[in-house]
């Protein structure tokens, strides 16, 4: 009988999607998911101390075996490319809107960006970073969009709660803080990347 953490290692190696603690519990017949988590932690610890090329990250509600960031230059050389394909600025902005306000309709995304977002949303759908969540009960019954697990994986997020807290209409479902301006000038643009209460925030006059 192999060691439990070895089995976990095999499971993670063979999975392409993040493996949930619950699935590990199921496969190994463990008492609870916490035990599965402990096994994963032990495995990660082992990788860490042995200086392995691999590590285990928690994304999209599960665990994933990935190469360490230091290996990137060689992997890129192996793939004969300079970088992995990255999203454009409009795509990232549209994705941000969907992530914070999901489920959100196309007109709402348009309104927040101030421009038509058809092409951008289509490319996000195509890349499976967002998906159709249903239809909005509004004139025209527009489609509603939400982010996918692929989105969480691509951005290394455990869940949407990992997104930075932002005030205003972009509030995550459970947040309801008083309105605080995040950005006003270029100098404060840096602060906006980690928007938190206080700091350089400006309180609106009204």
């Amino acid at each position: 009988m192999p060691e439990s953490s070895d089995i976990v290692e095999a499971l993670l190696f063979a999975s392409d999607a993040p493996l949930e603690a619950e699935r590990i519990r199921e496969v190994l017949d463990l008492a609870d998911a916490g035990e599965a988590r402990t096994l994963v932690d032990a495995l990660r610890e082992r990788y860490e101390t042995a200086g392995r090329a691999l590590t285990i990250v928690e994304v999209g509600g599960g665990f994933r075996m990935v190469t360490r960031p230091e290996m990137a230059p060689w992997l890129l050389r192996l793939a004969k490319t300079r970088t992995k394909a990255r999203l454009s600025r409009p795509a990232l902005e549209a994705l941000a809107i969907v992530a914070y306000r999901e489920p959100v309709s196309r007109p709402e995304v348009d309104a927040l960006r101030g421009v038509n977002s058809d092409a951008v949303l289509d490319s996000l759908l195509e890349r499976r970073l967002i998906r159709i969540a249903g239809r909005k009960d509004a004139p025209g019954r527009p489609f509603l969009y939400e982010t996918t697990r692929e989105f969480l994986v691509a951005f290394g997020l455990r869940d949407l709660g990992d997104l930075p807290k932002v005030e205003g209409q972009l509030v995550l479902p459970d947040g309801a803080a008083p309105e605080t301006a995040v950005v006003a000038t270029d100098g404060q643009a840096q602060a906006e990347q980690d928007p938190g209460p206080g700091g350089t925030d400006v309180t609106p006059g009204s």
């Binding site: 960006r113 421009v115 759908l125 994986v153 950005v183 400006v202």
Partner: protein
């Protein structure tokens, strides 16, 4: 992308902005304007100056910029005729519009900020490689939560595209009638004593044409106008002008 020197001395790259909100935000930031006290006059003038320098290839995009320009001009016009003597004082309707604009700008600033944050995350994650495709046999049950209407839509679109590509439009030449073919054979036989069946059906040997030609030959044989000989099975049929008594082997 061309670079244009605007009167304000700013260097503006056409297409640099994602939309009117982006441009407006850029203007506010470069002139260090607090969004809470959005100075409509200055910002309107700057916005219009930039707008003049831009070239649009996309009508939708141009429309979005123009709507914003109209809003700004409206606000500015309200300022020029203030309801009372106070400077920069708007009537309630215009003030509501100004506040809405301010709100949208703030909101867009957040969207932009989160976009930047996501971009950084993406860059970090791009350094990690996981297994792209599992070699595990697929599950007996397809997880339904991963499916969406969009996937179905995409599948059907691909299918339609595929069908359109595989079957190029083909115009089939109308097969000649038997009577036409009979006349043709006889006219050829006026100049020559014999001819080969294969030379009548043409290079492509379309099925319909072969059938019509064979029927025409048989008809002519029956009428006693020609003789047809086939010396071996599936061999060439030699057609000759009939002279004298009837003699046919088809």
């Amino acid at each position: 992308m061309s670079t244009t020197e605007t009167p304000a001395g700013l260097t503006l790259r056409v297409g640099e902005f994602e939309g009117p909100l982006d441009l407006l935000l850029h203007l506010c930031r470069t002139s260090e304007i607090d969004l809470a006290a959005l100075p409509v006059r200055t910002i309107t003038d700057q916005y219009l100056t930039h707008l003049e320098a831009m070239e649009f290839r996309d009508l939708d995009m141009a429309g979005a910029y123009l709507v914003m320009a109209a809003t700004l001009i409206y606000l500015k016009s309200k300022l020029l005729v203030p309801p009372d003597e106070t400077e920069e004082q708007l009537d309630p309707e215009a003030e509501a519009l100004r506040q809405e604009l301010e709100l949208r700008l703030r909101e867009y600033a957040r969207v932009k900020a989160v976009g930047v944050w996501l971009g950084e995350r993406e860059a970090e994650q791009a350094l990690l490689w996981g297994r792209p495709v599992s070699e595990l046999p697929s599950a007996d049950e397809i997880p339904l939560e991963d499916l969406s209407v969009h996937l179905l839509e995409r599948a059907i679109k691909r299918l339609i595209e595929e069908q359109n590509r595989v079957r190029p439009r083909e115009i089939a030449p109308e097969p000649p009638s038997i009577l036409e073919r009979m006349t043709e054979i006889l006219s050829v036989l006026r100049d020559t004593w014999s001819l080969l069946f294969s030379s009548l059906t043409g290079g492509e040997r379309r099925r319909s044409e072969v059938v019509v030609t064979l029927l025409a030959v048989l008809e002519l044989v029956k009428m006693g106008r020609i003789r047809a000989q086939q010396t071996e099975l599936f061999g060439e049929i030699v057609i000759e002008r009939q002279t004298g008594e009837t003699m046919s082997n088809a």
